[in-house]
Symmetry: C2
Subunit: 438 residues, 2 copies
């Protein structure tokens, strides 16, 4: 792609809704502001130009992360179809495409519709396609947009038959690309054994007028990501199974595509995935496709741990650079009702809360020139919908009106809390705003 990272992050579509005062994190405006005109407002978070809570993305961290992943993939001989469901933010998809992403991964037909509307040409739906309207809408889009290449999963012969019937009924003359999903006992979707997956692959091949068996897929992302040896063994077992299914399907001549996709998802074990799947021996070309979504923003907890595990198992890879947390949620101290408690004006509607947000940065307007590290002992102990209960030391300097910057765990469940996020430079000057489409 010829687009620079800078252009990619700052190329909103002209038809995207402008910012208005209805949007959380956007100040009251005399007139709506087109996304392309946001930088010209010269807002600065630290000058209190934004109403809080507001979610920001540090541009330097986004570019660092995107660049690191590009380098990793060059070394690994793998491609990425970054999981778009993480952010549902086309500005970030653009950055990922500019850095060489082979496709955009999505999770649902609505995500697919968004990706189509924004003009992405290769879309990987890492899910089964189920339901009359969902199937009809996806097949309809593929019929009217022949330039869009699409892939989805199956784990069930009945689903293969149903999809094939829908494809014939749709009459687009295009086959639907499907990958058979291998799962594992206790996991999520996916065939539970390699034999069941091969059976599904044969069912797809038997519908060769309507379906094209394009690869084998698995999802290791639910396996606990602390990198413990027994978990890595589970990840490897799944990957071994995928290799076995792929080699078996190849031997039986079941694949319908010139190139076989071998793809596994998740943001914790992509190094293992890329290495193991590369060993698959097939009679036709293969493409190893990882689908990490969270690397682009990284986070301040869950993926910090996953990254530490990666560094333990592959110090050389970790030495190529680190991922940086790009996403922060900023909010005001709203009340200091008890000596050891501060209430901060954000909550479950603003940040992921499976793991609590981390109070990282402290800024007092009028006093500080730049954000300070939050002193030790400040801990989020409870989130309500719109409030955060922060336990503080008795000598905490925090007072009402202070600004706090929180790091989050698990970007996916923070992105979906925001319709607008602001891009900032390292001085917290707003360089643009991006929309999400959940």
């Amino acid at each position: 792609m010829s687009m620079s990272d800078d252009q990619a992050l700052h190329s909103p579509r002209a038809w995207e809704a402008p910012l208005t005062s209805l949007d959380k994190g956007v100040p009251t405006l005399a007139e709506p502001i087109a996304l392309k005109d946001v930088a010209a407002q010269r807002w600065n978070l630290l000058a209190e130009d934004l109403p809080l809570p507001a979610a920001i993305l540090r541009e330097s961290a986004l570019r660092n992360n995107s660049g690191w992943m590009r380098g990793f993939l060059e070394g690994a001989d793998a491609d990425i179809a970054p999981h778009g469901k993480t952010s549902m933010a086309p500005a970030l998809f653009d950055l990922q495409i500019a850095d060489g992403a082979w496709a955009i991964t999505v999770s649902t037909p609505q995500h697919f519709a968004v990706a189509c509307a924004f003009g992405y040409r290769r879309i990987f739906m890492a899910n089964q396609l189920i339901g009359r309207r969902n199937i009809r809408d996806v097949l309809g889009a593929l019929k009217t947009s022949p330039e869009v290449e699409f892939f989805c999963l199956i784990d069930d012969i009945d689903n293969a038959a149903a999809l094939a019937a829908s494809v014939r009924e749709c009459g687009s003359g295009r086959r639907l690309n499907v990958l058979v999903e291998l799962g594992y006992h206790g996991g999520r979707t996916g065939c539970r054994t390699a034999e069941a997956a091969l059976t599904a692959a044969r069912a797809v091949a038997a519908e060769a007028d309507a379906l094209c068996l394009a690869g084998i897929e698995g999802f290791e992302g639910l396996l606990y990501n602390d990198g413990a040896p027994e978990v890595v063994a589970q990840v490897n077992a799944l990957l071994d199974g995928m290799v076995s299914v792929a080699e078996g399907a190849d031997t039986e001549g079941l694949f319908g595509s010139d190139e076989v996709l071998l793809s596994a998802g998740g943001s914790a074990y992509y190094d293992i995935v890329a290495n193991r799947l590369a060993e698959t021996r097939l009679t036709r070309p293969k493409r190893v496709l990882i689908r990490s979504g969270c690397y682009i923003t990284h986070d301040s907890y869950m993926y910090v741990r996953a990254r530490a595990a990666l560094a333990r198992r592959d110090p050389a890879l970790a030495a190529t650079g680190g991922l940086q947390a790009a996403l922060e949620v900023w909010a005001y101290v709203q009340s200091r009702p008890e000596r050891e408690k501060a209430i901060v004006a954000f909550g479950k509607r603003d940040a992921s809360h499976d793991d609590p947000p981390l109070a990282l940065k402290w800024f007092r307007p009028g006093l500080h020139a730049e954000p300070q590290a939050v002193p030790a002992g400040h801990e989020v102990v409870r989130l309500n919908d719109q409030h955060c209960h922060l336990r503080v030391p008795v000598d905490s300097p925090l007072r009402t009106g202070d600004m706090l910057g929180f790091g989050i765990s698990h970007p996916c469940l923070t992105f979906d809390k925001w319709r607008v996020m602001h891009l900032v430079d390292d001085g917290y000057r707003v360089t643009g705003s991006i929309r999400t489409y959940f």
Copy 2:
């Protein structure tokens, strides 16, 4: 208000964004559809006209709940400022106003901006107003919209002084109405003692050119809502404290308004709140204001328990009728990978998850004429972002492609997962769509 419930639910503003295929729960459309034109599409959930997951609101339940609350308030001599933050759906605010709501409650300056944009004239922000831009935006709106009556909270004399300074600087010539918030130890915001609250009230009265002490406020909604006697005692202690602060402020002549507001929030104890606050003895008129938000949709778990507790403490009130769960999330069975597991295609991005959703209704297209009760033994055991892990009995009839209707716990954290929800009649015919503004 002269508007009927029917008109209220079906009066979208002409400027609201039409439905497009970018919206979750909306089918692929040849052209965007204005909200007012949705009913004419004659979509039916059970005919699979909608892509799933989709969130629906049963109109009959909304009307039942709105009507029940109207009756309760007539009997209790109290008013309601329903908490708009529950739904952030102006269509529901309209229904609540049509049924006599005195004001709309909001939680944040962004909510306030939304309520202003939709033309509500009396807005109660049940929170402190903190931060330069937040304060400036709210005061600016009040300056340009003199018809809007606004109230917010303080719990801190420094905040009173800061707000007063901002009011003077804004130069609107309008005083800002504030209520002093009483809290309780271990709670959220609010002064921790009646004496501290009186001190805050005096600080407000001392800024009488800029601030108007308009009432006393508390929030009992965080107290565990199972109605246990010790919890009810805590609720009563807070209410007793509010009465004491109000009577003390009245004796000292601190109130600046003709009418004193006495308001407490929450959707579990409003009967206790209304009764206790009505006993306050003041030298000027008072208005008791409850702020329940969740009654309008009710739910299938958390508020079912709260309602059962209400029925135990006030059987006569409960005998006046029940609240009905209006909000359901529908999704497809996506995979049946193990005998005792079904994966359903919705997740944490579609439903509140502090308590798991409940699989209530089952519908197989082509087989059923109407939704069936889900047989016993089907239980949500885990939610991922986009997937639900449903434990099922070994003889479960569920298969891939079946539709399931889930009841949810805590409507606030389900509403914010949807930009569009569909109104349906009892036959699941779509009678309109509403937008939320989070």
